[in-house]
């Protein structure tokens, strides 16, 4: 006997055990990884679960993700249907079916009713899928936020914090600019009221089929290495404003040339005619092998587009209640609760705020702010005056959260009645504070605004972040705010990047006031504007502050700004507070040498 003979026998025996040897497409370790990720995805509906994806013998983008799921969760006993564009004879479907059947040794079918697994690209079958069936959808782009955010890290953050205001703004912009949502397939959905999900590029027609479905849907993106799922009986809702109806694809009067169906997803063919995209359904209709009544109920007829309903979407108007809401002083004043249960006077209290920049090569240690303390009450404006480098902007940035303080406390009446130090919050909680509690107007409007979207859209961002979901209410509120800050309403839908500096600043002010914050921080609000424009903005701010029970901190190097807006002020120099007093007193009767120099400069 020889080693060759031993090897031959081994191979012969192995072949005999397995009457038709199957190609290995994926190693067992890879399959386990996919199953683990699928389970995690089912446990957290709509959440993208990253997984270690293996390369498949089909190109990334040809369904390598879907293939991995089907191979990992499927087995010999399964019956698999593979479709592409609704057609099991599409070139992609043919090849995937060949691979899956070859690798799993399972049965194949064209009949949705017989299938245990349906792997699909771009369609959900017209026939209703049932309990126990699994739909595997191939996904070419898994990140629904990609359209509005290019940074993967930032997208992660937005999902973690359920911070989806920018997707709503994108919707708002489409409605305001075009009068309709232009997203075709892959319409973003909210799963289980929590996660924003890209439903794979299924047509809008199929979106309602994901909602409270009986079957399990697993979506997999091989290239992005993400799996996510919609378990049975999970709510799935398209991202749409409460008062603007969702629309599916439908051409009035269209019907399938072959089977005559009018309530299926139809694709155009030569000659201006239409055919069912789902060839199985089309064939079964022709053979009268369908439950037409059930299907009619399943078809999303309530979402057929109605052009007439869109007519009001682009009009601009301010409702009287919205206008009034802006002139009667905003909401109630808000002050903190003291340790003994009594109301304190302040809305914002800063104690011992210190910021030290450690030294490094080329820079020595800098104490940018040392032990700065103050508080501000409703209807009160406090000024912080100082030259650039005095530390005033550092104090502001630490309060906002753009910078981390080295020591100290910041308390807000709007946060746990002032009992919580803002510095103890994590970054996500601090970002939330800025939606409705603590508003900022930056010197540079591009810090507070998205220059690529409209004035109305910028305000919509703040409102949607605060939970507003009615398009017309958002639009009216935005218009009222813009009217109040004297931005011409016919520019409401123009991109802010095309606005003048003064106009941008007005939009930023409108956005800051959109949710009636209780504390407003103004960081050099008129610096960088032409003198006459600055005067107008300053005047507007003075009016707005007079109207509101809001606590305001104004940071500026310009004494005239602080004089115009505040009653009290602090003078900062080299990180220290050198003098405090009534603002007009500081100007008329400055005591410190530094303050006297500032005043002399302002008078000259």
């Amino acid at each position: 006997m020889s080693t060759a003979a031993i090897l031959d026998k081994l191979d012969h025996d192995a072949g005999a055990r397995q009457n038709s040897p199957r190609p290995t497409v994926m190693d067992e370790q890879g399959k386990r990884e996919v199953r683990r990720a699928s389970l995690a995805a089912v446990a957290i509906p709509g959440h993208q679960v990253p997984f270690g994806s293996r390369e498949m013998p089909v190109a990334r983008g040809w369904g390598s993700g879907g293939l991995q799921v089907t191979l990992a969760v499927g087995g010999e006993d399964d019956t698999v249907k593979v479709i592409d564009q609704g057609d099991e004879e599409g070139v992609n479907a043919v090849n995937l079916r060949r691979l899956i059947r070859g690798a799993l040794g399972c049965a194949g079918t064209g009949d949705t009713r017989e299938a245990t697994i349906v792997q699909s690209r771009h369609r959900i079958p017209e026939d209703r899928m049932r309990v126990g069936q699994t739909l595997v959808l191939q996904v070419p782009v898994s990140e629904p936020l990609r359209k509005v955010e290019k940074s993967v890290l930032e997208c992660q953050r937005m999902h973690a914090e359920a911070d989806y205001s920018r997707i709503w703004v994108a919707m708002y912009e489409e409605l305001a600019v075009g009068g309709m949502i232009t997203t075709g397939a892959s319409y973003p959905v909210m799963v289980n009221h929590r996660y924003l999900m890209a439903p794979s590029p299924i047509p809008r027609w199929d979106i309602p089929r994901l909602n409270h479905s009986e079957h399990l849907t697993i979506l997999c993106h091989g290239r992005d290495k993400k799996i996510y799922a919609v378990p049975p009986h999970t709510p799935v809702a398209p991202v749409v404003f409460d008062d603007v109806p969702f629309e599916v694809e439908h051409t009035p009067g269209s019907r399938c040339e072959l089977c005559g169906s009018e309530d299926t997803y139809l694709v155009p063919v030569q000659g201006g005619n239409f055919l069912c995209s789902d060839v199985e359904w089309c064939s079964r209709v022709r053979h009268r092998d369908v439950d037409a009544v059930e299907h009619a109920a399943l078809a999303p007829q309530q979402y057929y587009p109605d052009a007439a309903r869109r007519q009001s979407l682009r009009t601009i108007g301010v409702s009287d209640p919205d206008r009034q809401a802006l002139t009667v002083g905003g909401a109630q004043a808000q002050t903190a609760l003291g340790p003994d249960g009594t109301r304190q006077e302040w809305s914002l209290k800063v104690s011992g705020l210190t910021k030290v920049y450690p030294g490094s090569w080329g820079s020595s240690e800098v104490v940018a702010a040392a032990d700065v303390s103050f508080d501000v009450a409703p209807s009160e404006a406090l000024g912080i005056i100082g030259e650039s480098g005095s530390g005033k902007s550092t104090v502001m940035r630490c309060i906002i959260g753009d910078e981390t303080a080295s020591a100290g406390e910041v308390r807000l009446a709007g946060l746990e009645d002032g009992r919580r130090n803002v510095f103890d919050l994590d970054l996500s909680a601090r970002r939330r504070l800025r939606i409705g509690t603590l508003a900022v107007v930056y010197q540079d409007p591009s810090h507070g605004l998205d220059m690529g979207i409209s004035a109305g859209g910028n305000i919509a961002e703040r409102l949607t972040a605060a939970g507003w979901r009615k398009y017309h209410e958002i639009r009216s509120r935005a218009a009222a705010l813009l009217e109040r800050v004297e931005v011409p309403l016919d520019r409401m839908d123009d991109v802010v990047g095309q606005f003048s500096g003064g106009m941008r600043q007005r939009v930023q002010i409108a956005k800051a006031l959109a949710t009636d914050p209780k504390v407003l921080l103004l960081d050099e609000p008129t610096t960088g504007l032409d003198a006459s424009v600055a005067a107008g903005v300053l005047d507007l701010l003075r009016e707005l502050l007079a109207e509101r029970n809001i606590a305001v901190v104004v940071v500026s190097h310009d004494f005239s700004v602080v004089r115009a807006l505040t009653d009290r002020a602090m003078v900062m120099h080299r990180g220290q507070v050198v003098e405090t007093g009534l603002t007009d007193q500081l100007f008329a009767d400055p005591h410190q040498a530094y303050t006297q120099r500032l005043v002399a400069a302002a008078r000259s």
Binding site: M1, S2, T3, A4, I6, L7, L10, A14
Partner: protein, 148 residues
């Protein structure tokens, strides 16, 4: 050549044909002696993950997978294992047979030792030859030339 590892190394690096020849003699001898050759793990191709300890921070990273083939046999109750680069299943099984023969002190133990030693020696010679051909491509600066 006393350590098993050097035997395994020599076998892993040996020419396929040479190791099969020795293994065939071992199998034939075992058969005539009535000793059972049992294949514990049929030869299978797989991968070894090549990890590098990069020299700047001494941290590891994965460079690539290396295709290898592995087998394990048992001769008279003594196991022999082999892993070789590539996908030559026959050679892998033959290497495992050789190793088992070595460990069980079988009659062909000496042949296995010789094969391993010859392989490692050949490798050194090959490198020495390569180096001789490389030396002329060394850039000689003038000061080096003058000093010598």
């Amino acid at each position: 050549m006393t350590h098993g590892e050097n035997i395994a190394e020599g076998l892993a690096l040996a020419e396929s044909q040479a190791v099969i020849e020795v293994a065939d003699r071992i199998v034939a001898g075992a058969e005539s002696d009535g000793v059972v050759v049992h294949v514990v793990k049929p030869p299978e191709t797989g991968i070894v993950v090549a990890q590098i300890r990069e020299p700047l921070a001494q941290k590891r990273f994965i460079l690539a997978d290396v295709q290898t083939v592995q087998a394990e046999v048992e001769i008279a109750g003594v196991r022999g294992w082999s892993m070789r680069m590539g996908s030559d299943r026959h050679a892998a099984m033959a290497s495992a047979v050789c190793e088992a023969e070595y460990f069980r002190n079988g009659p062909h133990r000496g042949q296995v030792q010789d094969l391993a030693a010859k392989t490692l020696r050949a490798r050194e010679q090959k490198r020495a030859q390569q180096w001789r051909s490389l030396v002329p491509t060394i850039v000689e600066f003038e000061e080096v030339l003058e000093r010598s």
